[in-house]
C-alpha cells in the first residue's frame, strides 16, 4: 500500500497548509495525542499488506478475530443491568430479553462488590442501589429464576469476591440441573485493574491474583465454554487514563494472568482461548478504533511469539465494549444519546464481540426503562440501518487509522518495558505507578477542559439556561430493609454447623494454597454469605487498604 508520493503535488499542498491560518484549537485526540492534518503513504513506511495487516480471522487479527465478522453474526447486544433485590433485577432481565437483548449482564451493588453482606454496618444506604444485592445462594437462585442459563449467556461484573460469586452461580446451575459444560458467559474476575483504578479491593494484590487464577483454572477444567476473566481497561479509562494507557495496562494485566496460569502448571493453549477483554468506547472515534485494532495485534504477537501458543484461538483477543460513562453529562442529558451512538460506532468499527451502550440518564441514576430501551435501540439501528456491518474492518488501509494503530501498539510496548523496569506488575502496583499515570492523565484532561481547548457540548460551550430534568429511576429505601431481612432469614434457617464446617474447609484450603473453588462450592451450598466467606479468607490472606495518590 505504501506507494510513492508525488513530491511536487505534496509540496504544493504543504504550502497551502502553511499559509492557512492556524485552527482555533490544537488538533489532538481526547487523549492529547497530536494529529497531523493529513496522512499519506509516507506515514506507513515499510507497510506491506500481507505482513503488516493481513486478513480478518488470521494472525495478527488486526482486521478482526473472525473471517466474516458481522456479516456472519452480529455482536452480542448486552446491556448491564441490576438494582434492588434479586427479584427486581430478575424482572429487568426478562424485560430486556423480551426487547430483543441477546445476552444478560449482571450489575451487583457496592456491598456485594466489596465482599460485604447487606446487614454489615458499612453497607448502610448502599444495598441494592447501584446493582443487585447478592448475599447467599438464595439470592442467586432468585436472580435467574425462570431464565434458562443453559441457553442464554450471562455476564457477571464482580472482582474481589468473584470466586465466591462464581461458586454461587455454579452451585445454583447444578441445582437447576444445568450441566456446567453448557454454561456460557463471563465473570469479570479481574482484580488487577481494581488496584489501578476501580478500587473494589479486599485482599492484597498477591492473594487477589491467586483467587482470580483459581477461577480461571477451575473453569478451564470444568466449565469449558465460560470466560473466567474479563481483562478490563474500561475502568482504567473511566478513572481518566489515555487510550494508550488503557490499552497498555489492560494487556499488561492480561500478560500477568498468563504468567500466573503458567506458574500453576496450566498449558497456555488450555486457558488462553477463554481469556476475554473489556474496553471502553470513548469519544475520539479514530483513536478508539486504532486502540482495538492494536490490542488484537499486540496480544496475538505476545501469545504466539513470546508464550509459544499454537492454538489459533489463544492468539485471538475477543472483547466486550461499553460506551464511556465518564463522557456522559448531566447538562442537556438527551445529548448523551448522540455521544453514545458515536461511541458505539467506534466499538463496532473496531470489531467488538459484544457491546453495552449507556443510557442517557446514567450520570443521574441507574437507567429508566425508557432510557435503557433507547440505548438498546441505538445498537439495533447501528446493526440494521447504517450498513457498517456489510464489510469487515471498513477503516482498514486508511493511512490515518493504520498510522494511529501502529503508534498505539508502540506506546503499549513502551509501557510494557516501563512496567518490567519497575520489577513487574505487582511491584509497579505497590509503587503506585498505574495510579499516578492515570491521575496525571485525568488532571491533564481537566486542564484542557477548563481552558476550553476541549469542548464538551452543553457543558463548557453551547450551554442552555433552562433545564429539563428527565424522569429517573429511584431506588426505594425499603429494598435495603427487605434484603437485610432476607439475609437474616437465611442465617436462621440454615444449619450453623454446616456453615462453620464449610468455612473451616475454605480456610484450610487457602492456607494450603489449593484451588479454592471446591470448598467455595460447599460453602455456597451450606448457604454461607459472601461476607462470611470473605472474612474467613481474610484470616489467611489479610486485608488491603487502598493506596492514596
Amino acid at each position: 500500500m505504501a506507494t510513492a508520493v508525488d513530491r511536487k503535488l505534496w509540496s504544493q499542498w504543504q504550502r497551502e497548509i502553511e499559509a492557512a491560518p492556524p485552527g482555533e484549537q490544537p488538533a489532538t485526540t481526547v487523549s492529547g495525542v497530536p494529529i497531523d492534518p493529513l496522512y499519506t503513504p509516507d506515514n506507513l513506511d515499510g507497510f506491506e499488506y500481507d505482513s503488516s495487516l493481513g486478513y480478518p480471522g488470521q494472525y495478527p487479527y488486526t482486521r478482526g478475530v473472525h473471517a466474516t465478522m458481522y456479516r456472519g453474526r452480529l455482536w452480542t447486544m448486552r446491556q448491564f443491568a441490576g438494582f434492588g433485590t434479586a427479584q427486581q433485577t430478575n424482572e429487568r432481565f426478562k424485560f430486556l430479553v423480551a426487547k430483543g437483548q441477546t445476552g444478560l449482564s449482571t450489575a451487583f451493588d457496592l456491598p456485594t462488590l466489596m465482599g460485604l453482606d447487606s446487614d454489615d454496618p458499612r453497607s448502610l444506604g448502599e444495598v441494592g442501589r447501584l446493582g443487585v444485592a447478592v448475599d447467599t445462594i438464595d439470592d442467586m437462585r432468585q436472580l435467574f429464576a425462570g431464565i434458562d442459563i443453559g441457553k442464554i449467556s450471562v455476564s457477571m461484573t464482580i472482582n474481589a469476591p468473584a470466586a465466591v460469586i462464581m461458586a454461587f452461580y455454579l452451585a445454583n446451575a447444578q441445582d437447576q440441573g444445568v450441566d456446567w459444560r453448557k454454561l456460557r458467559g463471563t465473570i469479570q474476575n479481574d482484580t488487577l485493574k481494581e488496584f489501578h483504578a476501580q478500587n473494589e479491593i479486599y485482599f492484597p494484590p498477591e492473594p487477589s491474583v491467586r483467587l482470580a487464577i483459581d477461577v480461571i483454572e477451575f473453569c478451564t477444567r470444568h466449565v469449558p465454554q465460560w470466560n473466567p476473566v474479563s481483562i478490563s481497561g474500561y475502568h482504567i479509562r473511566e478513572a481518566g487514563s489515555t487510550a494508550a494507557q488503557e490499552l497498555a495496562f489492560t494487556l499488561a494485566d492480561g500478560l500477568h494472568y498468563v504468567d500466573q496460569c503458567l506458574a500453576r502448571g496450566l498449558q497456555v493453549d488450555e486457558f488462553a482461548p477463554r481469556l476475554s477483554f473489556f474496553f471502553n468506547a470513548h469519544n475520539d472515534l479514530f483513536e478508539e478504533v486504532a486502540k482495538y485494532r492494536a490490542a488484537r495485534a499486540v496480544w496475538a504477537d505476545r501469545l504466539r511469539n513470546h508464550y509459544g501458543a499454537r492454538n489459533e484461538n489463544s492468539w485471538k483477543l475477543r472483547f466486550h465494549a461499553q460506551t464511556a460513562g465518564c463522557s456522559l453529562q448531566d447538562k442537556q442529558p438527551e445529548v448523551n444519546l448522540i455521544r453514545v451512538a458515536y461511541q458505539a460506532l467506534a466499538a463496532v468499527l473496531g470489531g467488538c464481540q459484544s457491546l453495552h451502550t449507556n443510557s442517557m440518564d446514567e450520570t443521574l441514576a441507574l437507567p429508566s426503562e425508557h432510557a435503557v430501551t433507547l440505548a438498546l435501540r441505538t445498537q439495533q439501528v447501528l446493526a440494521h440501518e447504517t450498513g457498517v456491518t456489510n464489510t469487515v474492518d471498513p477503516l482498514g488501509g486508511s493511512y490515518f487509522v493504520e498510522t494511529l494503530t501502529r503508534q498505539m501498539a508502540q506506546e503499549a510496548r513502551g509501557y510494557f518495558d516501563r512496567i518490567e523496569a519497575l520489577g513487574g506488575m505487582l511491584p509497579a502496583i505497590e509503587r503506585g505507578f498505574f495510579r499516578r499515570e492515570i491521575a496525571d492523565a485525568a488532571f491533564a484532561f481537566q486542564r484542557e477542559f477548563d481552558a476550553k481547548h476541549k469542548i464538551i457540548v452543553g457543558v463548557n460551550a453551547y450551554q442552555e439556561a433552562e433545564r429539563k430534568p428527565l424522569d429517573i429511576l429511584t431506588i426505594d429505601h425499603a429494598v435495603e430493609t427487605e434484603q437485610v431481612a432476607q439475609t437474616r432469614r437465611v442465617r436462621k434457617e440454615r444449619s450453623g454447623e454446616e456453615q462453620r464446617r464449610t468455612l473451616d474447609a475454605v480456610r484450610r484450603a487457602a492456607e494450603a494454597q489449593e484451588n479454592l473453588l471446591p470448598t467455595l462450592l460447599d460453602a455456597a451450598r451450606a448457604r454461607a454469605t459472601v461476607g462470611e466467606v470473605m472474612v474467613a479468607l481474610a484470616e489467611v490472606y489479610g486485608r488491603c487498604d487502598a493506596a492514596v495518590v
Binding site: Q198, A239, F443, Q446, V549
Partner: protein, 140 residues
Amino acid sequence: MVKCVENQIPLRIVLAKVGLDGHDRGVKVVSRALRDAGFHVIYPGLWQSPEAVVRTVADEDADWLGISLLSGTHMTLVPRIVEMLRAAGLDHVGVLVGGIIPETDVPKLLELGVARVFGPGTPMAEIIDFLRAHGSRTHA
C-alpha cells in the same frame, strides 16, 4: 522596597470519600487543582466512615469539608455527617458536596446546611472562586 501583600493563611479543606464508593477520579482532580491554587488540602483516601471524616475535620482544624459521592448514598451519608459536625461543635465548617447528585436532591442538601453542590462538568475555577469568596469561618 517590595511591598508585602496581605499575609494570607491558606484555607484548609478536607476532601472525603465516604462509604464504599470507589469513584475517585473527581476528588483527585479537585484536590490537585485546589492544591495548585494554594489551598491546604487534606485527602485521607477511600472508604471513610462519617465518624472518621468528622474526626479528620476536627484534627485538621479545617475551614471546609468537601464530600465526594457518586454512589447514590448522599441522602443517607450527608445528613449523618452534617449532624455529627453539629454535635461535635464544628458547624462553622462549610460543607460542599460533589459528584452525581440528582437535581431533585440538591435543594434537600442545601436545606441541611450544605453550602453548595458541584456536579459533573464543573470547571475547577468555579470551586476555587467559591472558596475564595467565602473564606473561612474557622479562622475568621
